[in-house]
Amino acid sequence: MLRLDPGPGRPPSDLLEELTQACSLSGDEGEVRAVLRRWLGGTVCELYTDNIGNLICRRGQGPVRVIVAAHMDEVGLVVAGHDDSGLLRVKESGGLDVRVLPGRAVLVGRPKVPGVIGAPAVHLLDEDEAERVLPSRELYVDVGARSKEEAAEVAAPGDPVYFATSFERLSDRVVKAKALDDRVGCYILARLLLDPERENLTLLGVFTVQEEVGLRGARVAAQHLAPRLALAVDGTSAADVPGVEPPQTCTHLGRGPAVSLMDGTIVMHERIREHLVGLARRHGVPWQYRRLTTAGTDAGGIFLERTGIPACTVAVPCRYIHSPASLADLDDIEHTLTLLRLLLDSLDKGEFEP
């Protein structure tokens, strides 16, 4: 994996690691934006934050305007109140896999106070209760406070709760981290923006806000940037584990970028989708279709803006998304980058128009 130079005086670090260690719930994406600004500032010609927080990076001055979008926000919890005993009540932010929450280590608030997600003790439950998935309203976060007053000093209602999952390489190919949905997309987009300019393109890299709560940042960006076409780069579910058969697997880890057919918010623009598949076949890039038709991506927010914007989603397979820890394959990430570069090249050369 390519290491990017973070600039003089800063220790070498991997961008993907830094992106996944940054914490950004929907509507409060400042940390991820700061990481991207630090890595891209001074290298890409134009960089600005729009009114609702999207970070927009323009590369090139060509006539064909292309949005590539990746979202900065991640799923997590929000503090809802304090119990008399000093525990924090929480609500969900974004669609969480609530089955896997109890017992997880978390970080609370901007100061990132460590805590643990707690649930009623297992010895108190009868057999039926023990098998039940606990809804988030029955869970709490324990920060070691011994009274309501102590808890109120740690966090106020509305404060974010992030998963405390560290970035690790599990093997030479597979990485583990929180928020790979969609920091893999942010990573790929940052790399695309550092490519040499393409003469005929204006590449509009949009790091969006509020994807997990309704594809909201992307809609605003598409409205004011007015692109000819748009691509969303996202992390998608890979359920290639025992007991699951295609198409329920959705995607397989290590089999390359997943070209989306449709999701709950958009039927992908057919000509872009076919062109992507054609490019992958001609250039020998591994690829797969995303086999599920549910959920949503920024492409769905973008395509209905203005007078309609052709859009398609390319996704990196990730196991265990919307949970505290997810896995991605570095080869999948590189192949997704390759496929997007091929698409931009073909647009630059005028070989494809949507």
Partner: protein
Amino acid sequence: MRETLERLCAAWGPSGREEAVAAEVSALLGPVAAVRTDPLGNVIATLRTVAGSGSPAGVPQAAGQGPGPAGPRPRVMLCAHLDQPSLLVTEVTRDGFLRFSPVGHLDPLYLPGQRVVNREGTVGVVVAEDGLVPKDLGPGKLAIDLGVSGREAAERLSAVGDVFCPAAGVLALGDLLSGPALDDRAGCAVLVETARRLVSAGCPNPVDLVFSVQGAIGPRGARPAAHGLGPALALVVDLAPARGVGKSESTVEVGKGPALRVKEPGYVAPPRVRQLLIEAARAAGLPYQVEVVAPEAATSDAGGVELAGSGVVTGVIGLPARLQRGLTPAVSLADLESTVRLLVELLSRPLDRTAPWVTG
């Protein structure tokens, strides 16, 4: 303010037919603002403030990209919706009852027994089908009884397409005021009162008030209004469901000050806006509370305003309301007063054009 509130609550105004409420609001604001009505029926009032005397911005503009701190101050939009939930007549039965479809959030649990009235003043009462058991309750099992028999008699008073609203008025209920139109006439009254005080105190910022149409069925009127105004900051004032009897998901209580909303379906508040409001509340020694997640039924105009134009930094100030599920929400005049003071405190200081509305 109570007089303003009662006057606004007396007006009949279902979604899409807000003219009577719009006329009241326009009359109330005439002395302090340049008032106009846009093509959708939104009332847009530009306050006669020190900075707002010019014509409002006609095109959406990006915040923070205009002139520097010496340039014009950022425009601020305050928003409340004019309309109230209502019943749309979909069939006149052979027996002379009116079948209806709810427009806006009306919980069928609270409908039977409710007195309703149409624009012409025809009164009806919502009734449930004979022998209906509570578990089968739904809008399809209810009808409006006009007290007449037979289709012909009923059609002299109403017709398919006619609209009924819960009967107007405000009831003094202990420390609270209760009435079907308080959602969101309470917000409208807060805006009117804020406008009066800002203008008499002298406000250094340009302020537009938007009284939106169709806010009870989604952010329909507010989004295009915000698109046209292009504000740097928008604040939506709407009701926040407060704790009632029994177990409650709500973190809000009546009488404890304006509720600063964190999120609702389709909208998340930028933390910076909440911080701005908290700082203003503390500076003025006003009570406030934080509303973490508003339920579907309390979805405000914010989700639409935020997406207008090049995007608008938007906050929601909730007026705590008990009985929100019923047709007669109840609010505390003290909470309304604190909300007015909060807005006056925030807007009577010059807002910094270069302020980091969005962090980073």
